[in-house]
Amino acid sequence: MQLSRDQLLSAYRSMRTIREFEERLHVEFLSGTVPGFLHLYSGQEAIAVGICEQLDDHRDYIGSTHRGHGHCIAKGVDVKAMMKEIYCKKNGVCGGKGGSMHIADLDKGMLGANAIVGGAPPLALGAALSAKLLKTGGVAVPFIGDGAANQGTVAESLNMAAVLKLPMVFMFENNGYAEFTAASYATAGSIEARAKAYNIPAVTVDGADFFAVYEAAREAIERARDGGGPSAIEAKAYRFWGHFAGDPQRYRAAGETKELRENHDCLKIFADKVTQAALLDQAEMNAIDVEVMQLIEDAVAEAKADPQPDPESLYKDVYVSYN
């Protein structure tokens, strides 16, 4: 596999954008300006970007989770409209009615973040079924946490996808925790083995290594597009923050997140690899960093300045039509 310079730069920009977006939101949340709950994706960027860089805007769909900002950005949802949605403002992607846990943009193949753990995989089956019947060549990718992996909907979706040979990639993100409980306690056996039990080809990769995710995703997407049915990837992931912004993380050893940031930072690992292989130089990435910082700065300022939703919008869009 050889990525072009443009592809590498695009992947880096996407990962950096997610990181800045989340780190800034953490600061904003603690200062009390963000409503609702926030689950940050920092540390897991290479997973969303490693697969979404290979998905098309229109024919390919992703189904996301409560920790969805990174999936949205990687799939090309407008960063400013996302920020406005998180602030629940009028010009947010969902008009302020969804908030952080419900960012959705069907035009970008983004079926929605989801506040119901295990809510998305069955919906992704549906997107894959549409793609198959409409012969779009599209693929559907549900993102599934180690905690979500234990929901019945996930087992049901794996089986259904295998039975119907649906064009899907089940992207499991095993960050070791579901809320305040470790996967080592709550998730029996191995996720990869669970997929294999349905005869679904499955691999485990280091989710901090963009290239490992990219390669596994490339094979899986190719298989899906060629009519080979579903695949699964278990990406070992690193959650840099707590379950939600503000989580005191009493269940984690002191220094654990510091260690993760030092040794499992997908951005650092990416930068080291591409500079060592002389594919990109640091200056190019630094230039992207500056642009991304500005983008996030503007996104926050615009989100704060955006008006509240119109009161009438409360009653709108419950139905397409109600008669």
């Binding site: 609702g36 629940c88 009615k97 908030g99 419900h102 809320e179 470790a182 306690y185 984690r252 419950v318």
Partner: protein, 336 residues
Amino acid sequence: MPIKTYREAINEALRQEMEANDRVIIIGEDVAGGAGGSAGGGEAAGGVMGITAGLATRFGRDRVIDTPITESAIIGMAAGAALTGMRPVAELMFADFIGVCLDQIYNQAAKFRYMFGGKARTPLVVRTMIGAGMGAGPQHSQAIYPMLTMIPGLKVIVPSNAYDAKGLLIQAIRDDDPVIFCEHKSLLGDSCEVPDEPYTIPFGKAAITRTGSDLTLVGISRMVKFCNEVADRLQKDGISIEVIDIRTTSPLDAATILESVKKTGRLVVVDEANPMCSVASEIASIAASDAFDYLDAPVKKVTAPHTPVPASPTLEALYLPTPDKIEVVVRDLLEY
């Protein structure tokens, strides 16, 4: 008498019943927290809202059981354990998640006794968190008790204050039928006088929280607080409002409501749930049917609209019934 929060009152009820009966167990996600964690595995949460804090440390993880994220299995396991000798208190973290496990409640636990010809006892309690007010969005804010109230075989509890929360929860744990205990997330920090010793409050017995003669306000859960506020405001204008806290939607204390309506001749029902097929509708229909001759004005409902709960705090505030909205309806009805 000591002052305790709604959260503390629930915790105390659980603790006292677990002390009194070792068949009482707690099952849920992160009801202890910390299992398998790198900090050593000790209790690290006590529920996402801290309601079960300290119970795992006090009673051990065999009785305060952290589960995977798997609501169907949580509720089904609790129902099956209830059927076979335990007294489980299952926690469904947010009531909205009922969508994931409704079968175990609706087709299973609720029907055992009837369809097994009266042979089963299912002393199951499902504690769950309802309500808007935290900007938690469409899948974490709903008041879902109407759809449970319509299910024969379930008892549905909607405490509006800390005192009731403790007494009703102890009653629920001692009750031999499946009980859904709806805790309102916006009430967790509210406090009032709560006795230290265990006590029970019977189901199907409403509380009259304000006595009055001009109009009856019936409230459910958090809405009782708003009704009391309106009654206190209007009292300054010489208007006398009676407020009824139904405490339990099933069984429903129709007698207390009818008695009050017969006295005041006017009824406004305040309900945070959506308006169609609701508990408010049920109460309105009881009044229309059984107190018709006593009514001096139409029965009115103040409810959420027929929409999901929006994430935006601005829209959420519009969504919810408020004391101001209630006051407008009450004043209008008094003019009728």
